[in-house]
Amino acid sequence: MYDVAIIGAGVIGSAIARELSRYQIHACVIEREEDVCCGTSKANSAIIHAGFDATPGTLKARLNVRGNEMMDTIAKELDVPFTRNGSLVVCTKDQDRSGLDKLMEKGSANHVPGLRILEREELIKMEPNLSDDVTCALYAPTGGIVCPFHLTMAFAENAYDNGVSFYLNTEVTGITRSENGYCIKVNRKEGVCSGTPLDPGTHTIETKAVVNAAGVYSDVMNNMVSGQKLSITARKGEYMLLDKSAGAHVSHTVFQLPGKMGKGVLVTPTVHGNLLVGPTATDIDNKEGVNTTADGLDYLGKTAALSVKDLPLRQVITSFSGLRAHETQNDFIIGELADAPGFFNAAGIESPGLSSAPAIGEMVAGMIAEKYALEKNPDFCATRKGILRPETLSLEERNALIRKQPAYGNIICRCEMITEGEIIDAIHRSLGARSLDAVKRRTRAGMGRCQAGFCSPRTMEILEREVPMSMFEITKNGGKSKFVVGQNKEI
């Protein structure tokens, strides 16, 4: 019997799990994918919004600003790459600049610090590649960029290390009320995964409380227990990621002032030094529809050019799309259900969800702690070490490391210069990697310009040896995403 079961190991579920682990509690996280951070959390703009965009008084506004404020501490405690690069909302000569004033007013009402409107002359010194049509911009110095994979994994690993169980590869198939709370029917899928062991097949997880952090499926979870129905639409956002050689094309996150052409697209450096362009916004019926489209990718290039000139689109190394969980009420839906006591929603978490995640974790954990009068966990450890990146060491330190662990002298991913030592670390740490994408999200091996062409066979060998697992069990990202189908002459 668990005190709390959290459905979903995205950034929201993981943040809540981590905050809950500050208390004496028997908690678990249930995730249908083979790794944490596999849904909306892995495919988004990777930015920490300043918080001027949301309507004052909404949860989005409050939690965004609070989440942004918390990021410095979180980045430090959990060793997550985070940079406050500042953001710009640019207005072009065809647009009404009063739109910037309105954003600034909203920002002030939301208590966003340091907002200023900058004129072209000053702007162009800060950001020389802004398009010639840009006249002015709203500058938010607290805007930032973060690695969403590392943020989610950091929350999850820290929660796991503080005693929260993680059932990966485990899909929720039903939720019913019970005498003491809820019975969650789950199906543990076949396949290798890390986290808390469970035999493949169906199980029932009993729990006093449930947290619904199921992303685009949070309406399904809610609607299994409540008469207050939710309706989540998957809103697809397509992105293009450019090579690091284009990473310095802009240094701030450049938004477009929403106008007749829609919300526009952003151009931003990523915290790892690439350049990201996106997203589109298309409501779709398919909650699994993470495909990119020719029209979408075409739109990105054309629209981004309105704010940033000379975008080197030949340097695109990959494109992807993510689904935002858009709820009809247009705000985050957070809190205990009136008709289902002990069932807490963290639903409808679309943008600025990543930015708000730390604050949502704090809020939901706070509600649960209050309701169940939880005591603080005296053994709670707030810190977690990320994967050691040898490039951050001095030459002497690096050589000392290689003498101790020669795998740190062996480069596996040539594009990102990732060593075997880092991959071994990613496999053996808490909630360690079991698939190629899981290795990639943790170490960046395979995330560079050749997109894993060279390193995937080598990474597979390391997984085979270290986990250990058979070559035929190795997947790209769980399920049927097998990499090889047999030995030569076998088929």
Binding site: L297, P406, G409, M417, G478, S481, F483, V485, N488
Partner: protein, 420 residues
């Protein structure tokens, strides 16, 4: 810090031939740095035959061809380090490298030869829309899995791109029991060698659809189907021409890119056309004493030409080490025109060059019954008829030092495709 006269980055066919040539021209202190576990580079996974017809007058497999050069390196006791990654090259020719045994270390070189080869264009760089399931491989990754690891990446295969590795893999996968359903090529012509189309596709009844591209990839976990469509002259898909193939694998063979991240960080000037360094007749880059050869310089069709080019680079690097920088000689630019996409080298020093200089290039389209014309300023020097020229095959012209000497005021050399 250790010091070598010559450091060669890459122990593939280019690096090996360059090392042998530099030693034969008198350089004792040579180090080859190779990131893989053996010498030979990508040839080690090219187990098909057809290598070495020009160099050895016989048909060798890739590993056999590589072994001939690796043996020459060992016979000459040229030093090499395996499993060693070059991390950085500085403008003053300090090479930073790393491996398990030595850790991270620096080497001061008098001259450097860049021989890092190339990599394949990835799905992301091609901007193919659709899902991102497992089962999408570059042809070279599939080749490594099948030929070196012994694993089959899939059973039913669609190949996009008719580059040589894709063609070779169409045959290879078929021989291993897979069904290759189609090869789609965006361009109206193949990017590969004619002989590979015949031997790898035609002989196995694998259809090649020119002017076709992939417009959708289905399957969330593993590839389930790929849809291709015909493209118009603007290379955009024509609605209504879609054909859907159920398959579990999509191989990509859509071009190779010289791997010049090290060159770029060293400050070597690169050509936007080849993505390789801009070099003069001695294959020297914009940095004195830094030379380039093989696929890092421009993507070759035959390894024989890589070896020839590398031999030249090795000889010239030796001369640089022995005699220092050549005095400021007059430089003439070669201008590619009328279908000639680029030339290697781009610059010629008429007073310093070899008696005969091979200038290699590729054409931008298929040309039938045309000629390659060479002009010194406005004067036609040479016109050679070619029945067929295609982008998949390299072309060349030979420049004659004595002829150039007749043009002391020469300002440019032009190479162009003309009607025969």
């Amino acid at each position: 810090m250790k010091a070598y006269d010559l450091v060669i980055v890459g122990g593939g066919p280019a690096g090996l031939a360059a090392a042998v040539s530099a030693r034969d021209h008198g350089i004792e202190s040579i180090l080859i740095i190779e990131r893989d576990k053996e010498l030979g580079g990508i040839l080690n996974q090219c187990i098909h035959n057809g290598f070495g017809l020009h160099t050895f007058k016989e048909e060798l497999t890739g590993p056999e061809y590589a072994a001939r050069f690796a043996d020459q390196v060992r016979e000459r006791q040229i030093e090499y380090k395996l499993n060693t990654m070059v991390m950085d090259i500085s403008q003053d020719k300090k090479v930073t490298a790393m491996n398990r045994e030595d850790g991270m270390f620096e080497i001061q070189a008098k001259a450097i030869i860049l021989a890092m080869g190339c990599r394949e264009r990835s799905r992301g760089a091609l901007n193919i829309p659709g899902y991102r399931p497992a089962g999408i491989y570059s042809a070279g990754t599939a080749q490594r899995l099948v030929n070196m690891e012994g694993y089959m990446p899939g059973k039913e295969v669609v190949i996009l791109g008719s580059g040589d590795i894709g063609l070779i893999m169409a045959r290879r996968m078929t021989l291993e029991g897979a069904k290759v359903k189609v090869v789609a090529e965006l361009m109206p012509y193949s990017g590969g060698l004619k002989r590979n189309i015949v031997q790898c596709l035609n002989d196995f009844d694998i259809p090649l659809k020119l002017s076709h591209t992939v417009v959708d990839i289905e399957g969330k976990e593993r590839v389930e189907a790929v849809t291709i469509a015909e493209v118009g002259p603007d290379r955009k898909p024509i609605p209504g021409t879609e054909i859907r193939y159920t398959c579990d694998t999509l191989l990509l063979s859509c071009g190779l890119l010289p791997e010049n991240e090290l060159s770029r960080s060293a400050g070597v000037e690169l050509s936007p056309v080849t993505s390789g360094p801009i070099v003069n007749d001695s294959l020297e880059t914009s940095i004195d004493g830094v030379f380039a050869c093989g696929n890092v310089l421009h993507v070759h069709d035959l390894v024989d030409y890589v070896s020839q080019e590398a031999t030249t680079a090795g000889k010239n690097a030796a001369s640089y080490i022995q005699h220092g920088k050549t005095k400021d000689a007059k430089i003439v630019e070669i201008i590619p025109e009328g279908g000639v996409r680029y030339t290697v080298p781009k610059f010629v020093r008429p007073t310093e060059m070899e008696d005969k200089l091979t200038v290699r290039f590729r054409v931008g389209a298929v040309y039938k019954n045309c000629a390659i014309a060479t002009y010194y300023d406005g004067t036609l020097i040479n016109k050679r008829k070619r029945p067929v020229m295609a982008p998949g095959e390299m072309e060349q012209v030979i420049l004659d030092k004595s002829k150039l000497a007749e043009f002391p005021d020469l300002s440019k050399i032009t190479v162009r495709i003309e009607e025969a």
